[in-house]
């Protein structure tokens, strides 16, 4: 059984998506248990795979028994073992947490929604696990198409924002496909490891350069790296809360993983950092991304949109860290994939709970929220501290690695941007905490009933996953040393100092 984990984590959700869409026609209450079972199996196999990788090293799973250059192979090493575990656990927790809000927001579309949800997780896990460049494109589009479907189920403006997301997502995927085409012309192979073996004599070729740049731009579009971020805030804000709390933590992070995979495995760090000499401008782009993300977040007047701009800034962290070109920067970027997925999930689950109770997430709606929803807001404070980067939470440690990488690389601009964005995050989150804690809850008649405002918490099925995530933020923070020593140290290639 454990030999088949790599296939199970894609096949089980894929087939259960079909079963769910049929079950949705028969009885809507069947959908949720099937989805939980499917994602449970996926999460179990992902964690099993990660443990096996820790013991045995790289796992190659040949689909159908065909050897890699001809057939398609799944490669699992330390890097994607970690990302697989993160993706499957985040998707599983969010599924349980958002059951009630799905029932509330779209009671008649539950079957379709759960099918899309499970299919999206299939796509994400497939992107991470696959070792074939074209396979990655197909799974990229599976992820994207299901994402469009889910986000479009939201409020009034959701369709238009999703259509904009669709244009940009399609251009991004097409650029990636074009880059793979150029790689295929020069190497005649689609297997990532095989391409990496064939490329070194061809590094001077203009076609390889074009392939790298085009792939990179495509992936940047998909991950909303700053100048290409315009689609993200509206699409994530107007989507239903269950969809945005799945897509916001995972899709951008998985795309950062794809970029790191391209740099480390397909093109090797030698080519990306030494031959090309483009790290410096890219780090400066990341600096602009971080600063602009922070400033645009300051301008927002509602919680969900503010969080989406924070994601834009966080993408800047990861891209900049990966392109610093040293071990600490790359470690920080990989660690931040894990941390940011958890932090964003925490923040968006809080938004989901608030929407469930208040039907709104503008700043004015948040008045007196600490008295009304103390547990939710308690978890929000933990998430906020983590995004700011306060020591016991995990956000601090990845930022620490990123900053020390920036100092080693001599990129002081990046260091300043990281500190600046942390300070802006302090302002952002303390503004919300101030509104929620000090301003009295005001329905119609001001402050006279702020003492006996009744507590109206979200249901327990929404709170428990939120607490697990909030506790996870601290636990991951405390065990950062182990994660770096046992997993990430092996994910970063030895050549990188």
């Amino acid at each position: 059984m454990s030999q088949q984990y790599a296939a199970l984590l894609v096949v089980v959700p894929l087939l259960s998506a079909l079963v769910i869409s049929i079950a949705g026609l028969v009885n809507k209450r069947l959908c949720f248990p099937i989805a939980v079972a499917a994602l449970g199996v996926a999460a179990y196999s992902c964690i099993g795979l990660l443990l096996r990788v820790l013991n045995e090293g790289v796992i190659v799973y040949k689909l159908g028994g065909w050897d890699p250059p001809m057939g398609i192979a799944y490669y699992v090493d330390h890097l994607n073992g970690l990302v697989l575990a993160v993706v499957s656990v985040v998707a599983f927790l969010n599924l349980i947490a958002s059951k009630k809000s799905i029932e509330l927001e779209m009671p008649d579309k539950m079957g379709a929604f759960y099918a899309l949800y499970v299919l999206q997780v299939t796509g994400l896990l497939g992107i991470v696990v696959t070792g074939d460049a074209f396979n990655l494109y197909v799974l990229l589009e599976i992820t994207a198409l299901t994402g469009y479907g889910m986000l479009a189920m939201g409020e009034d403006r959701a369709c238009l924002s999703t259509l904009n997301y669709l244009y940009m997502g399609t251009i991004g995927a097409c650029f990636y496909l074009l880059g793979v085409g150029y790689l295929y012309i020069v190497t005649g192979s689609l297997n990532m490891v095989d391409i990496a073996h064939l490329l070194p004599p061809l590094y001077q070729s203009k076609a390889v350069l074009a392939a790298f740049i085009i792939c990179l731009v495509g992936v940047w579009l998909k991950m909303a790296f700053f100048p290409l971020h315009a689609w993200l805030p509206n699409a994530y804000t107007h989507g239903p809360s269950a969809a945005s709390s799945l897509i916001a933590p995972l899709v951008t992070k998985v795309m950062v993983y794809v970029m790191i995979r391209l740099i480390l495995t397909v093109f090797t760090p030698d080519f990306a950092f030494t031959m090309l000499n483009i790290s410096e401008p890219i780090v400066w782009l990341a600096v602009i991304a971080i600063v602009m993300g922070a400033i645009l977040a300051l301008a927002q007047r509602d919680l969900k949109k503010m969080l989406t701009y924070i994601i834009v800034a966080e993408v800047g962290y990861m891209v900049g860290g990966a392109w610093l070109g040293n071990r600490d920067g790359m470690t920080g970027a990989i660690l931040h994939i894990l941390n940011d997925a958890l932090m964003t999930l925490c923040a968006f689950l809080v938004v989901g709970n608030i929407v469930y109770k208040l039907k709104g997430y503008a700043f004015d709606d948040l008045k007196g929220l600490f008295r009304k929803m103390p547990f939710t807001m308690g978890a929000f404070v933990v998430g906020a501290l983590s995004i700011i980067g306060v020591p016991p939470t995990c956000g601090f440690f990845s930022k620490w690695y990123l900053i020390s990488g920036a100092i080693q690389a001599g990129q002081y601009g990046f260091m300043v941007a990281l500190i600046f964005s942390s300070l802006v995050n302090v302002v952002l989150f303390f503004r919300i905490i101030e509104i929620g804690f000090f301003e009295p809850f005001s329905d119609h008649h001001g402050h006279d009933h702020h003492t006996e405002e009744p507590m109206a918490e979200a249901p327990l099925t929404m709170l428990v996953p939120l607490f697990i995530v909030a506790a996870g933020l601290v636990v991951v923070g405390l065990y950062t040393g182990d994660i770096v020593n046992y997993i990430i140290r092996f994910a970063v290639p030895k050549g990188l100092i």
Binding site: V138, L145, Y148, D156, L160, L163, L166, I171, G181, Y184
Partner: protein, 136 residues
């Protein structure tokens, strides 16, 4: 000048795909009508499909099916001498079958969204839709 012309003519398939891609991109950026934008997006995708198909083409090559080279278990072809030069590489074409399916799916989702938007706003012109949203 002659050199430039020669490189353009010799690699005309790349120029065709780039031109098509730019037409698609132009339509997506400049057009105001949502359906025109979606059609532009589809042209963009199709350009890349044409690019892949054109790199698989070989002058004088034939379809990669062995006529008489079959043994009884399907492995007999190995003993028969196969001249790879004579055959067209089928892989880019096969990949594009998948990419076409992806393109059709994307087009379908985009058109479905356009229908939803039309039902909400009674128009497909983007500036009018934005004006309506701003009024709310």
């Amino acid at each position: 000048m002659g050199d430039l012309l020669q490189t353009i003519v010799a690699k005309y398939n790349y120029w065709i795909y780039i031109t098509l891609m730019m037409i698609g991109l132009y339509a997506m950026i400049a057009k105001n009508n949502l359906v025109k934008k979606i059609v532009g997006m589809n042209i963009f995708q199709t350009a890349i499909i044409l690019f892949y198909v054109s790199i698989g083409v070989k002058k004088g090559g034939t379809i990669p099916i062995l006529e008489h080279g079959h043994g009884e278990h399907g492995h007999g072809a190995a003993s028969h001498l196969v001249q790879a030069v004579d055959y067209i590489n089928p892989l880019p074409h096969v990949l594009m079958l998948t990419a076409i399916v992806v393109g059709v799916a994307t087009l379908g989702v985009a058109l479905a969204l356009a229908i939803r938007i039309y039902n909400q706003h009674n128009t497909l012109e983007e500036d009018e839709i934005l004006a309506q949203i701003r009024e709310k």
